[in-house]
């Protein structure tokens, strides 16, 4: 702590009176409190602005905006079901791919990694979160999508004979729900693994030592003594990753194909709520179209708000007990 300044009392000729001190404290408190109040004000302002803009669509279209899958701009029909479906499926796919990997990395880093490897690997995984979404999209268009179209999709469909199931059937276009799921998995991974690592490291040593002393192997120690202890925190991390995946826009827009259809096949192109807004919002000319897109935004806002709030709450449950 070399940066600690030596309090310069002796050179401070002008003494503050008690009164001035009280005024200074008061002003300081008011200014910082005002800054802090901006955060809740922002949340409320976002909610009001988006719901006010979405109101015409909600009142005119009613429930059909979430139940109908007919999105026809010219006819004035706005059913966002394919986009909601696409958001849920691509995020679920992302979690299925990312969760085992992320927890695996977290266990590796907190339990088994040689000390010299811990920092670099942790840093590389964290960096995944720093890569801009548009860069993932660019890579997705020119590397991932061709790879899926020419190698992975034919392999899954023909070699593994998964084409018989509805999930892996149909022509391999490239831009698809599968591509979106893979990109989202890469993007959600660092969030899940960072939180998992944090909560795994918060598990007391005694927990591990007790398991080992009872004759557990190292894996049994993890499974029976460490993971149960950190479970709700890890679930919080997964939900945090889910929040990221649900709202991710650019990378998904670039690889999902943007077609408003519900298809069981992961090879088929789709739409997500975020990519629907990104694609159409600046071109929306009719008021109802604009309002319908704001309504999609409002649904997305509510879903991610709930997911994030639950995630944070779960993580706090675990990290609260840490040495304070």
């Amino acid at each position: 702590m070399t940066a600690v300044p030596a309090p310069a009392v002796s050179t401070d000729r002008r003494r503050l009176t008690v009164h001035e001190t009280a005024i200074g404290d008061r002003i300081y408190e008011i200014v910082t409190t005002a800054c802090a109040l901006v955060v809740p004000a922002l949340v409320i302002a976002i909610a009001i602005a988006i719901f006010a803009g979405a109101w015409p669509a909600f009142s005119k279209l009613g429930l059909s905006i979430v139940t109908s899958s007919d999105w026809d701009v010219r006819a004035g029909r706005f059913g966002a079901a394919p986009a909601i479906f696409g958001t849920l499926v691509s995020s679920a796919l992302a979690l299925i791919i990312a969760t085992p990997l992320a927890i695996g990395v977290a266990i590796f880093l907190s339990e088994f990694s040689p000390t010299w490897l811990r920092q670099p690997i942790g840093f590389l995984v964290d960096l995944l979160a720093a890569v801009p979404s548009v860069v993932y999209g660019l890579w997705g268009i020119f590397v991932l999508v061709p790879l899926l179209r020419e190698q992975v999709m034919p392999f899954l469909r023909d070699r593994l004979h998964l084409g018989a199931t509805p999930f892996f059937s149909g022509p391999a276009y490239g831009p698809s729900m599968l591509a979106a799921g893979v990109i989202l998995a890469i993007m959600a991974l660092p969030y899940i693994s960072a939180v998992s690592r944090e909560v795994l490291m918060a598990v007391p040593r005694s927990q591990r030592e007790a398991a080992l002393a009872l004759g557990a192997t190292r894996w049994e120690m993890i499974r029976d003594a460490v993971i149960p202890y950190a479970k709700s925190g890890i679930i919080g991390g997964i939900m945090l990753g889910l929040g990221r995946a649900l709202g991710e826009t650019m990378a998904v827009t670039m690889v999902i194909g943007n077609r408003a259809e519900i298809s069981a096949s992961l090879f088929a192109p789709g739409y997500t709520m975020a990519s629907l807004i990104a694609n159409q919002f600046s071109e929306a000319t009719s008021d109802l179209h604009q309002s319908a897109l704001l309504a999609v935004g409002a649904i997305l806002f509510v879903i991610t708000l709930i997911v994030n709030a639950v995630a944070r709450w779960l993580v706090w449950q675990v990290s609260r007990d840490r040495a304070v």
Binding site: V4, V38, G53
Partner: protein, 282 residues
């Protein structure tokens, strides 16, 4: 009952799987970086930074307008996000356990997870719809709003590291609370707060979604805050989804520039926080 051997075999292979997970998780980053460098370096040259975008079908040209645009957008965002974020962070560290502090902390975390596109349409309803046109100001506003919760949380984290004894010493010497906070606590953590600000800048510098219907993008040179403005991520997006090979090459070059900025800042932040605060942050 499983035999001892089987149990040890299972244990060994599960541990092996975690090694595999570590390899698989670091692979995408390395693949992306390698590809970016190979593709981007080929079309990157000095003219990329100094020239305007060329017309379709011509090689060369640059993204000078987008680079300047991004700098302007970041400046606006900092002007909004830094003072408010740092102020809120100070509040959180001073009033650690007040009910308001706890809800502000919680809401910052929730805001941090909010999709950036939602921030984009929020800024649109507030800053674009009333005036009737897209503008740099609206784009910077959207980015600034994203910065507030980020800076709030990192500032608080950094202030938390300052030992209570320092604060107590200053108060015992007769310093008023506000001076104790500003010239002892905040000053001690200044490097950390600056790092947090840098990380926030790195994070918003690459954001595209909030700019789509606020800053909009611009093919021409513009530094006016009331006009639509170009931005590096927007330009990369527009070029990536275009149908021309020359533009694809430009997109790769732009992506290489963008990721270099982001990675350099992230690395610098990592080094600073480690040397200043002893224990590595993990």
């Amino acid at each position: 009952m499983k035999t001892r051997l089987a149990r040890h075999w299972i244990s060994g292979s599960m541990i092996g799987l975690t090694y595999l997970a570590a390899v698989l998780a670091t692979l995408p980053l390395l693949l992306i970086l390698a590809h970016l460098i190979r593709k981007g370096a080929a079309s990157l040259s000095l003219s990329f930074f100094t020239h305007m975008p060329g017309p379709v079908g011509e090689t060369g040209g640059g993204m000078a307008n987008a680079i300047v645009g991004t700098l302007i957008l970041i400046s606006i965002a900092c002007a909004i996000g830094l003072p408010i974020g740092i102020g809120a962070g100070i509040y959180l560290s001073e009033k650690r356990s007040m009910p308001l502090a706890q809800s502000v902390r919680f809401l910052s975390d929730v805001l941090n997870g909010l999709p950036s596109i939602v921030m984009g349409i929020f800024a649109w309803t507030l800053l674009v719809r009333p005036v009737g046109h897209f503008s740099a100001l609206a784009g910077g506003g959207a980015l600034g709003a994203m910065m507030i919760p980020l800076v709030t949380r990192t500032t608080e984290e950094m202030l938390r590291v300052v030992p209570t004894s320092l604060r107590e010493a200053a108060l015992a010497l007769g310093y008023p609370r506000w001076r104790t906070s500003l010239s002892v606590v905040v000053r001690t953590a200044l490097a950390g707060i600056a790092t947090g600000a840098l990380v926030a800048v790195a994070r918003i510098a690459g954001e595209t979604a909030p700019l789509l219907f606020t800053a909009l993008g611009n093919q021409f040179w513009s530094t006016s805050l009331r006009e639509p403005i170009a931005a590096l991520p927007l330009q990369i997006f527009a070029y990536a989804i275009s149908a021309y090979d020359e533009w694809h090459a430009q997109a790769w070059a732009g992506a290489l520039v963008l990721i270099s900025i982001v990675l350099v800042i992230s690395l610098a932040a990592r080094v600073v926080t480690r040397s200043k605060f002893g224990a590595p942050v993990d």
